[in-house]
Subunit: 272 residues, 4 copies
């Protein structure tokens, strides 16, 4: 005779970010939340009776909803608010809330570096084919909370995207450039190129990721005279607005769901 | 003076699946699509003029919309329909459509094995603490297109989930069970346990993942007499319905967006 | 005043495989092992005294050494042998041994399919550039225990590799082929191409991965008349022989360490 | 009649690092190299004749050997030396060398932060079970080139590891600590804990990873009075010495092969 032992249900990998806008300076909080509940759900297991089973989809929505007011630098505080809320649901006896915050590094009032897996790259090709020397960077993760628009695009029957003149823009830059000639100090040249890419991303207003890429490429070609051409790959790491009005709340437009897939896939080469 | 060279824009990692219902037998097509376009978008790069930039969000929606009629075993055909559609958009000169189909292996009229990374696991602990022998499986991916419901759950202000008596249910089973005593033939015992897990997943109607887990655990405890207890971890790999009515289409309820995150996180132990 | 609480030390992700040769039929056992020990190691933590700390490198070597005699279908038995061994080391009070076995699917007496993440791929390109229709497969993992040699290669001061006329050969096939014309039944054509790739990999004796690739490509071009050309990417997933003579043992040449990186990177295109 | 088209062979994901010791200040260069060659290897494909096929194992060894003299901040220079070397091999017509350098951030004369995926974590558990508030960090990657020994350990027939009083020590710290009481300013407490972990890792000489963990845990308990206990998980990310004497070279002991698997798996809890 089988008996139900320990059990829990919950939602894992709930990604949510929140923008805090000040007069001139923004904060950006970016976390992944896990909610695990225990409670009076024996009948759900044994008899398929769901009356005590808070849906995990509701847990996700609750995290989004609570983020608007409660997500900030105090991650333990946010976890505590969520824990207390879920413990208060009928039939819930215990709750565990895990919050993991990504460490965005501030670069400007509205610009952040995502760090992580960034690498400096180099390529040398010798022989009769396409010979030369390339340098580059991959995994250079950047996010800005101001200065990015996307509007004036064509619409057809499958277009739902609203126009926006102010959005969160994030990408993981891969850049590869060909040198001709190779600079004397390749490290100084690389640092200059990288610094220019970052500055232009954060300082220029752009009308699209394509426009952003062009502005960056044009500036870096000016900054590094030995660069003959540059190719940028700029995956658009979308931050989808969460519509809180569905929960009867006032939506301040500050809660986002970052998504890994699908992503906008933008690539361009700019030549001297 | 910088000049725009080769460039393209598109959408990558668009996951879409389609259910084809016959009288008694279902087919399930599960693909990841990439769309890459080239065209007359110099002004978008240089001047921020987006009038020729078909949004990548529209590309995604187009893939969902076209999937209802055109996604099937002929992946090249589906890619061709998409390619022709995008080539026909104003300002688009060339299109590349990549489609990668996951190879679900049919087990029954409505049941499929996802194969892949499945592993047989074993654990032995010796010493004064919790000693014993465990066996298990991880990465056992299963999906069924019939026999799964979720309704009768509590609702609060954050609940949007509709009730359903028929949904696509998919998970990657991790199971660990303790033997007492250890069977003479551990391979035969493991095969019996695995086979029972698969059969019960596909054959039993369930009212929730919790219910499904209980039914599987109860059956496997019966099938393998040396099993003292079993713990199941059943992440709910959601297949979100795509609402095609937003595109002015009739929605036949057969197009889904599989999502990796967040996921429902269900765990239970069942003892003899 | 700080006090040491619960602690353990061990080795994780120890990959080891073993070939069992019969007259005509081979078995191949492929596992990942984790060893975790507890014991009398307070002085190691607090005072840096390592006299009771069995090195994790020794744990790894022990797993390799024991695999020659004890690794087989009974994973629990292998874990038990290891657990008993480690419990018997001076200062060790408890041991946990986890073993996860990869499920290679037998195709022939010496051929196995690794399953997993295999996908069928399709690509359509339209427009003025390189237009056409491609099909393919990725993640098709194959391993054979006979019929692969590598000898007669040039040697220089950095060459240590011994010549061999019989090795374990494993790869994850990525194949892409262009159709001209596109076959009426793309699924039948794909199945024929895939089946031919698998058969040739397992049945042909090859002198290198390059040779193996050529033989496969030539055969698949014959089997599918609509195929104009095929490109194969064949990463060589090395299985390094573990030298057991270092432990004073007789080495039967059947224990291997599979490594993920680096890997041999072979690519070729074959045209009609 | 099949014809060989474009083809290349090479080695991917060759990881190599090099330590540059100055009087008091070390540099650490850490790269992943890919070598791809083209040449006169038609007979290898078609007829299994390997006389022009430089083994990919030799390519790997060449990268290790060249790293001792040539790996430094100028990645393009290192790639160029390798490219020229391979182009000079008999039968090789063209070579591509890709080098990707990991960006270790200097913290001290011999200490580096690996950045990347670091996250701040928080956990709240409410209900009748183990209730409380935890904070932590995961993915805090640190590497030091001085101040780490491992000697005096027990030896048995499977022990090959040499004793060392100076090794490269690297880990990705996961720390979780319980607060009692919860500090008023959780962010300040977290920053203090993280800073102390980093400082102790780099400044304390340790006799093992266990000893290193104890020293870090003890210090952080002192630094943060609200911390009741802390659990550290310290995977030992091994840097294996490459033996260059096998190539007839003088080995300066500065070239290492970083390996992902297997890894030493160290965990400890320290209580107040």
């Amino acid at each position: 005779m089988a008996q139900l032992g320990e059990n829990r249900w919950g939602k894992s990998e709930i990604r949510v970010s929140k923008l805090h806008r000040d007069e001139t300076r923004d904060d950006f909080f970016d976390v992944t939340v896990q909610v695990l509940l225990q409670g009076d759900v024996g009948a759900a297991h044994v008899a398929g009776d769901n009356q005590a089973v808070l849906p995990t989809d509701t847990m996700k929505n609750t995290v989004y909803a609570m983020a608007q007011e409660h997500l900030g630098p105090d991650l333990e505080g946010f976890a505590g608010v969520l824990g207390a809320w879920f413990l208060d649901r009928p039939g819930v006896d215990a709750a565990i809330v895990n919050v993991a915050g990504r460490l965005w590094q501030r670069v400007s009032d509205s610009g952040f570096l995502g760090g992580g897996s960034e690498r400096r790259t180099a390529k040398v090709a010798v022989g009769p084919g396409e010979a030369g020397t390339w340098a580059g960077v991959d995994g250079l993760v950047v996010l800005k909370t101001r200065g990015s628009a996307f509007s004036g695009f064509p619409r057809d029957e499958f277009t739902l995207l609203p126009e926006t003149d102010d959005r969160v823009l994030a990408t993981s830059i891969t850049a590869d450039w060909r040198y001709d000639p190779v600079p004397m100090d390749t490290t100084a040249a690389w640092e200059s190129a990288r610094q220019t890419l970052i500055e232009r991303f954060f300082e220029d207003r752009s009308a699209s990721m394509q426009h952003q890429g062009w502005l960056m490429a044009e500036a870096v070609l000016s900054a590094v005279p030995e660069m003959a051409e540059i190719t940028l790959h700029l995956p658009n790491q979308h931050h989808l607005a969460v519509d809180l009005t569905r929960f009867g709340m006032t939506d301040h437009g500050v809660v986002f769901q970052p998504v890994s897939e699908p992503y906008g896939d933008i690539g361009l080469t700019v030549e001297r």
